[in-house]
């Protein structure tokens, strides 16, 4: 078993009287792929925002590589982990190349001078993610799927060990969904990047994850292997509805299929 790279203990977060996260405790080992599922409003995004320190007024403890999250400087933290929000803003006026190069920020000297090495790393990241073809295009002119690929290219150029992704493939067509997940698998394998991914898509979670966590109303209601979550009673508890199952024709993995509406 590898060392724990993320350790969360008794994480609580509330906005006014509303409890968003309640007694969350789990850990992730380096190089693993954790998928977080759960119904709308379960607190999945909030959880990622706590780990990426966008939210700072939580209670409980989050440790990254054994060190309390609150003791990191933002720059040092960005060398270890990065957050990919659910879609980039649609009005970014920078080119894809400029955007990816900006991800070198945590590695720059205090005077923020971009070196040829930074240029190289950015170019390589764009080649790896197949975004080099639109490197000179302005981000606001790209499609949602292309923007998502550029977002991942930037995270690769940032050379973070942990990617925290919020719904990376939601709202994308089938080809782009496949591209994003295969890209993440490739990055996980070649760079040994730890992936923490929030998704609504149970099937992609089951097919791509090493471990799955399910949140409901701010609490962890399931933690286990992908095959363990695909059970009628467990899913009904999480989503408050019944599911139809099928077997994946290639892997034999149990997957869910859409309901028939009468």
């Amino acid at each position: 078993m590898r060392e724990k790279i993320i350790e969360i203990e008794n994480l609580d977060f509330a906005i006014r009287a509303k409890q968003i996260l309640e007694q969350i405790s789990f850990s992730v080992s380096g190089g693993r792929r954790l998928f977080i599922v759960g119904p709308n409003g379960a607190g999945k995004t909030t959880l990622l925002r706590c780990i990426s320190r966008i939210i700072t007024d939580y209670r409980g403890s989050i440790k990254i590589k054994g060190v309390n999250l609150k003791t990191y400087t933002q720059k040092r933290l960005a060398k270890i982990l990065t957050y990919l929000p659910q879609g980039l803003p649609g009005d970014i006026p920078f080119t894809a190349h400029q955007f990816v190069l900006m991800a070198r920020y945590p590695h720059l000297s205090p005077f923020s001078v971009v070196s040829p090495e930074d240029e190289n790393i950015a170019t390589q990241a764009m080649e790896m993610t197949q975004t080099a073809c639109f490197s000179e295009r302005v981000l606001s002119t790209l499609s949602g799927g292309e923007r998502q690929q550029v977002s991942i290219a930037a995270a690769v150029a940032q050379q973070a060990e942990i990617f925290l992704l919020d719904e990376p493939a939601t709202y994308l067509d089938y080809k782009h969904q496949r591209d994003i997940h295969s890209l993440l698998a490739k990055i996980n394998k070649t760079n040994d990047t730890t992936i923490v991914c929030v998704t609504h898509d149970l099937n992609s979670a089951v097919l791509n994850a090493d471990t799955i966590i399910a949140l409901k109303e701010g609490k962890i209601v399931f933690e286990g292997m992908p095959e363990e979550i695909m059970k009628e009673d467990i899913l009904e508890k999480i989503y408050s509805k019944k599911f139809n199952f099928a077997q994946h024709p290639v892997t034999g993995q149990k997957i869910i299929v859409p309901d028939i509406i009468e």
């Binding site: 933002q74 933290l77 960005a78 803003p89 920020y105 945590p106 720059l108």
Partner: protein, 329 residues
């Protein structure tokens, strides 16, 4: 137009304005004054102790306001952000008015600047504090708070005027319109010190401003200390606004317009956008001031009137343009 070409054009524009402005005016200045620096003729005296200091002051004030605008617009991803809409100008003006009314007799060293800096900082604390009360930071709330704070300080200034005697009241009104009438070099030197301090600080934040102009989340994910950067930029803008307000009065719209025009010309990268806006803002205010003192010479129009006359329609154009396309930044 290529971005580099556009930048060179802005540099040329600034150079031409600064070179021609001191020669414009009621008294014709022969080119020969450039040879004698002693100031032994009337023309030379006008040129060296009135026109040049005034051009320098106008340029530095415009540069400072544009620099504030570019930083605030980038930081808040909002085309309406500038020292005026965020209440910083209002606070500084109130501070300076207090000085004119009550403390001028004490003749504190650099009293105007100290008082207007205190006012600017108070305004920022108020605006920032108002947004802190509600959980979750929204730029919309911030701008509304800024406008509220500006009104609040304007009313306080009106109150001061109401209780003051006629001469003081006239002084305040005249100064609130914004005017750059300086003699000698002490004002331009002070302006140079404050403006360059602010410009250096803000230029050093270019990379962070680029990231923050995308979104705070992205900036945090890339390792920018967003809260710290906001404080640095607030401090730098209050230093610059305080100096401009103390010496020239609250001059509007330069901080709003210059960054916008430059963003259209040189693009969104703050490494080139910031210097372009500084040069453009400086040249623009120098131009407005030259118009202000020559149009009805020997009388003068307050420069704030000229910038506002140009700025009002520009603001409306911006509003209309924004409803057409969402590419405001």
């Amino acid at each position: 137009m290529k971005k580099n070409t556009a930048f060179i054009l802005i540099v040329l524009f600034a150079l031409v304005v600064v070179m021609i402005a001191p020669f414009a005016g009621l008294t014709k200045i022969p080119l020969s004054v450039l040879k004698s620096t002693t100031g032994d003729t009337t023309e030379a005296r006008i040129f060296y102790s009135l026109r040049l200091p005034r051009v320098f002051t106008a340029f530095l004030a415009g540069a400072a306001l544009a620099c504030c605008g570019v930083a605030l617009q980038g930081m808040f991803r909002n085309p309406m952000a500038e020292p005026f809409t965020l209440g910083i100008c209002g606070g500084a003006a109130f501070g300076a008015a207090i000085y004119v009314m009550f403390a001028a007799s004490l003749s504190i060293y650099c009293g105007e600047i100290v008082f207007s800096l205190a006012g600017a900082l108070a305004a920022i604390f108020l605006v920032y504090g108002l947004t802190k009360i509600k959980k979750g930071f929204s730029v919309g709330t911030m701008l509304l708070a800024g406008i509220a704070v500006n009104f609040f300080f304007s009313s306080l200034i009106l109150l001061l005027q109401y209780v003051s005697d006629f001469t003081q009241s006239f002084m305040i009104i005249r100064w609130l319109m914004g005017s750059i009438s300086v003699t000698g070099y002490s004002v331009p030197i002070w302006m140079l010190i404050f403006t360059s301090a602010g410009v250096i600080i803000i230029s050093s934040q270019s990379f962070k401003l680029n990231l923050m102009s995308i979104s705070d989340e992205i900036a945090i994910a890339r390792g920018v200390n967003v809260k710290g950067t906001r404080k640095i930029i607030f401090l730098a803008t209050s230093i610059m606004v305080a100096a401009v307000v103390a010496f020239c009065g609250p001059i509007g719209f330069v901080g709003l317009m210059a960054p916008h025009i430059c963003r259209l010309l040189v693009g969104p990268d703050h490494k080139i956008l910031t210097p372009a806006s500084i040069l453009f803002g400086g040249a623009f205010l120098t131009l407005c001031d030259t118009v202000a003192r020559t149009l009805i010479a020997p009388a003068e129009i307050p420069v704030g009137v000229i910038t506002a006359l140009l700025g009002g329609p520009f603001f409306i154009w911006l509003l209309l343009k924004d409803t057409d396309s969402k590419s405001s930044l």
